[in-house]
Amino acid sequence: MPRYAKHILFIVAPLVAAFAILPFAYNNQLLLFNFVLFLTLAQGVNVIYGFTGYLPFGYVGFFGAGAYGFSLLILHLHAPPLAAMGGAAVAALAIALLLTPLLRLSGAYFSIANLAAALALMQFISNPNLEAITRGPYGVSMTGVFNPRLAYTMALIVMAGAMLVAVWLRNSRFGLALQAVREDPVSAAQAGVDVPRARAYAWLISAVIAGLAGGVFAWYVTVFYPENVFSSDYSIFAVVFALFGGVSTILGPIVGVLILYGVYNFIGFSTPQYFQLIYGALIMALVLFLPQGLISLVKRRGIDVP
């Protein structure tokens, strides 16, 4: 069996199946939806950070753009939600294209510029003068599209898509080229890779994943404010989850979300008074002792982690 088929059969399919069945056995639908959302976003971060080395602290910009791309099509064109999901992808793609020059920066400079771009986008959308178009700071309220079950199903499809992208990158020439670019762009060019183009493709793919996640979020909640969908928490959580598990693998971001977001909710429910202390200590321990993520514990033993 080819490697990619194993990855689909033993990683992606069980994960999607589990989250498809869980709503029938567990009542907290919102929590399950959030898990699916973060699994998608962490894998999106993996595409751009794990495979090219760009740490996107402003990743939420694409999520917000997707949420508004979805909502504006519903509000102004009365588009059906499925078509509006296309709007979410296009909005994120447009923002990513606009921000492509950021890829000329590297390291912290890229991360800071990306964060600034996301904040600027939020300020633009929140502008009261644009109320007629974006609803400005007063937020979006969509009527007639509220359908959590269908939105959850769409979230599962988007998550499956993000997982399949990770499988493709882990098993394709293009994924290998991206890793080469991450390791050493000069040498990658010397191997014949068109470095700016490879980076741009990864950037656009990663943006579309976040845009679709934003669209499905908007569909699920139907009412939100700019600060909800441009909250830096999304960027930070997605980055931390992906790093905690270990990037440039398929499994790493999945493990990161399941454990860390699981712990996050467990502490939040059981001992909320110690929540920030315990969570902060966990992240510090990760950075100090496992900078390559949990997956590195297995990799150190010479085991190839998918």
């Binding site: 020439r173 290998l176 890793q179 080469a180 050493d184 060019a189 010397q190 191997a191 014949g192 890779v193």
Partner: protein, 241 residues
């Protein structure tokens, strides 16, 4: 440009913050020739390789390769046209295995499908035993060979070799010299930048001596050591005029 020339450089100039690293350099390389590029530190040898391989764009001058002007083209485009290089300090993809290092270049370097076999290429450079190990775990001589393997995987017509011999033991030097000659016999042209004169004498057909970004001598190494200007540059401690 003579039909025998694969590369002809005319008046090549590269300026870094007012410093003329290349100052109107002119040279040519024939098909299947191994040209030695020698000169004191700072004479512009590595800059020449960096400009020809597309790492830096020149301010002025012409680089004609295989009948076409290529000055200022991006690195990957030059790779596809048939120019590749090694680095003074090897730059493999450290987290990727030796095999993956080569596979990237096979996939993207412009060689026809099936033309280059990763295992055979690694084997030919004595890297078969470490093919599945991350490049970071290889010793410096192996990393140099991996740098060379990545370049060879793209089937270059012109190979630019920047101080490949530095740090190798005598047996490894002889082996590398034999390899370069073997490549040249198959039709590949090679420019070798090197400080080890014994190695230069062993592998090159002709040398170009550089000083202050210019060619000051062209001929055999034996003729070069008889040349007053060359001797003054190497032993005089100053720039010849």
């Amino acid at each position: 440009m003579s039909p025998d020339d694969i590369l002809r450089i005319d008046g090549l100039t590269k300026i870094f913050f007012g410093f003329r690293a290349l100052d109107g350099l002119s040279l040519h390389v024939s098909r299947g020739e191994i040209l030695g590029l020698v000169g004191p530190n700072g004479s512009g040898k590595t800059t020449c390789i960096n400009v020809v391989s597309g790492l830096y764009a020149p301010e002025d001058g012409s680089i004609r390769f295989d009948g076409a002007e290529v000055a200022g083209l991006a690195q990957h485009k030059l790779v596809h046209r048939g120019i590749n290089r090694t680095f003074q300090v090897p730059k493999p993809f450290m987290q990727l295995s030796a095999r993956e290092n080569v596979e990237v270049a096979i996939a993207y370097g412009g060689a026809r499908q099936g033309e280059v076999d990763a295992a055979a290429l690694l084997g030919s450079l004595n890297l078969d035993a470490v093919a599945n190990r991350p490049a970071a775990e290889l010793n410096s001589a192996q990393q140099k060979m991996l740098d060379l393997a990545r370049a060879l995987a793209t089937k270059p017509k012109l190979l630019l070799v920047d101080e490949l011999a530095a740090g190798l033991n005598p047996a490894e030097l002889d082996w590398v010299a034999a390899k370069l000659k073997e490549f040249a016999r198959s039709g590949m042209s090679i420019i070798v930048v090197e400080h080890l004169m014994g190695f230069i004498e062993q592998v090159t057909d002709r040398v170009v001596v550089m000083n202050a970004g210019k060619e000051i001598f062209g001929g055999t190494l034996g003729e070069a050591v008889q040349d007053k200007q060359v001797v003054e540059v190497f032993l005089g401690g100053g720039h010849a005029h």
